[in-house]
């Protein structure tokens, strides 16, 4: 019975984790939480943090469940909040009011205003509480929220589409296409999960990339576009083209929907919890040197390019021993003829 129940709990939490993904990239400054309410083996309410952070996932799920919440079990990827705000009631209050029997949470809220207080309030009201179910997956789903809390900056993902020999383009800069359709579609899905997407000045000037989400139904999920303007590695050709009299910052400001930042450190000021860095090599290197990349998204095509543009510029590596131990593979899959590998920074 205990085992069966644990397995059920893990399964329902999986549904809550899937719902949590719907909000990723749109809930800052709140975390993207998912929630399901289950009564007699049937889902009666589903919720996820809405764009801008409100309503919370629990409030949405409780509203859907209505009277069916009574004596039901609520699965939620983060501890329900215990603090009342001007923007709405505390979720713990709502849960007590609705008369739920059990609350299963993945992670305790790191927000000092809750930090276990939500669980306490629920227990005081006679509700059975468990936490830690699928915790590591939930922590991964909140990576942006956690990076913002812990490091005061967005969670950084570096995306690279490259050949077997580590090239991202031919010498003339052409890179269409290294990877195939399925890999490119996946990369667009990843874009929809980020509030902001960044390229370097060279890529911005050479490609004028749209950086939007070109997937049916997700067009409105295109992230804020950011250009890194001050790279010490910018080519003289680009300098010439942009001209001395008009700074690139002005160019970027005048371009509809672009934000310009002068250094990787300035990303801390972006209203974003998830930043996707898309190239080129010197921009990637600048973010890696500043240790602002938490995740690598490598789409590798089964081709050799030979002479061409390298994926990553100088990251200041002193010796090979220092290169080891930074990255851990957390996911790998085949996408058509290409292979996606996802690595996380060990911290």
């Amino acid at each position: 019975m205990g085992l069966l129940s644990d397995r059920d709990d893990a399964r329902w939490m999986g549904a809550a984790l899937a719902l949590a993904e719907r909000g990723r990239g749109r809930t800052a400054p709140n975390p993207n939480v998912g929630c399901v309410i289950v009564r007699e083996g049937r889902v009666v309410g589903r919720g996820w943090t809405q764009p801008g952070g409100r309503p919370h996932a629990e409030a949405m799920a409780l509203a859907e469940a209505g009277a069916e919440s009574r004596s039901a079990t609520l699965y939620v990827t983060l501890e329900p909040c215990a603090h009342r705000s001007e923007r709405g009631p505390a979720c713990a209050d709502l849960i007590v009011e609705a008369g739920l029997a059990r609350v299963i949470a993945a992670v305790e809220d790191p927000d000092p205003r809750t930090a276990g207080g939500g669980f306490e309030q629920l227990r005081d009201a006679g509700i059975a509480v468990s936490k830690g179910v699928r915790e590591s997956e939930a922590l991964r789903s909140f990576a942006g929220f956690i990076a913002r809390r812990r490091y005061g900056r967005p969670h950084g993902t570096l995306k690279i589409a490259l050949s077997l020999d580590g090239r991202i383009a031919l010498c003339d800069g052409s890179s269409r296409w290294i990877t195939g359709e399925p890999a490119r579609a996946h990369a667009h899905l990843e874009r929809s999960r980020h509030e902001a997407i960044l390229v370097g000045r060279g890529t911005w000037e050479a490609d004028a990339p749209k950086l939007d989400v070109r997937l049916e139904g997700l067009e409105d999920r295109s992230p804020q576009r950011v250009v890194l303007t001050s790279s010490p590695f910018v080519s003289s050709e680009v300098e010439k083209r942009s001209g001395a009299e008009q700074s690139l910052l002005d160019c970027a400001r005048s371009e509809r929907g672009w934000t310009a930042i002068g250094s990787p450190d300035q990303i801390a000021t972006l209203p974003a919890d998830h930043l996707l860095v898309e190239g080129g090599a010197e921009t990637a290197a600048a973010f890696l040197r500043a240790d602002l990349i938490d995740r690598l998204l490598l789409y590798r095509a089964p081709i050799l390019i030979g002479a061409g543009k390298s994926a990553i510029g100088d990251i200041g590596l002193a010796d090979l021993a220092a290169a080891h131990g930074w990255w851990e593979m957390v996911d790998a899959r085949q996408l058509g003829s290409d292979r996606l590998e996802v690595y996380e920074r060990r911290r």
Copy 2:
């Protein structure tokens, strides 16, 4: 019964294929064949082509089985030879003499002196013959023999140990170590399967590599060492070091156990069916440009290097579309924290 028997045949052929690997890299100009003789579900004889090509696998297995060959089944990765030579009797004759009941072969011998004649001779003697069992694996095991027959040159494998971003060394040339112990041990095992191993002039001068097999019990399997002397990409530093008065060819000849060749095309003259090309980037590119590489052996470490030495130089790629369709992944495995990927050239 038929199905069971087919499954058994495939299993015993697997044993013959494993024995065939023992000879790989030492049997030129003969193919490395493997053979088992099975009687009443028990192996009574095992053989593989011996160094230099004789005795043949069947002769060795028959010698081991002795009288137990009578009415037994012989599994062999290549059609038994039907031509008598000064170096020994034809295997088909030996099999008929020994009184075997069945012969199961993977591949028909492409040698025009046999080419089905072995099977014919066996059938004429009343022996049941089947062919095509695990044929594609057998063809792969004879890749060197086939490349020599079909293209008049050794089967070429390019081995690269590289980082996620496709670097094979830091800018200063240091490459110890990119990959870990298990990957390096595997690379040494691969060396033992090749008659010849080649590096470029730059690597030869900079590293003076030993290129031997440093695995217990396989020390005597170290391949012939070859240096490619005439690369248009050789660094001026190397030019300076070697000096005008003494050609590198002389250097190589005077070095114990090294052979020097002037261009990738000269490999056709090497007494080898399997050539392992180990670097650097310009040597790899020269062999790829000449389409002399049939197999890629990529050992990829989970590290980023950034600025450093690229894996492969200019292979003369005109556009990205032309890069696709050349390579097919045929094996992938984890070796410690590194990943080995094996690709074969589609022809």
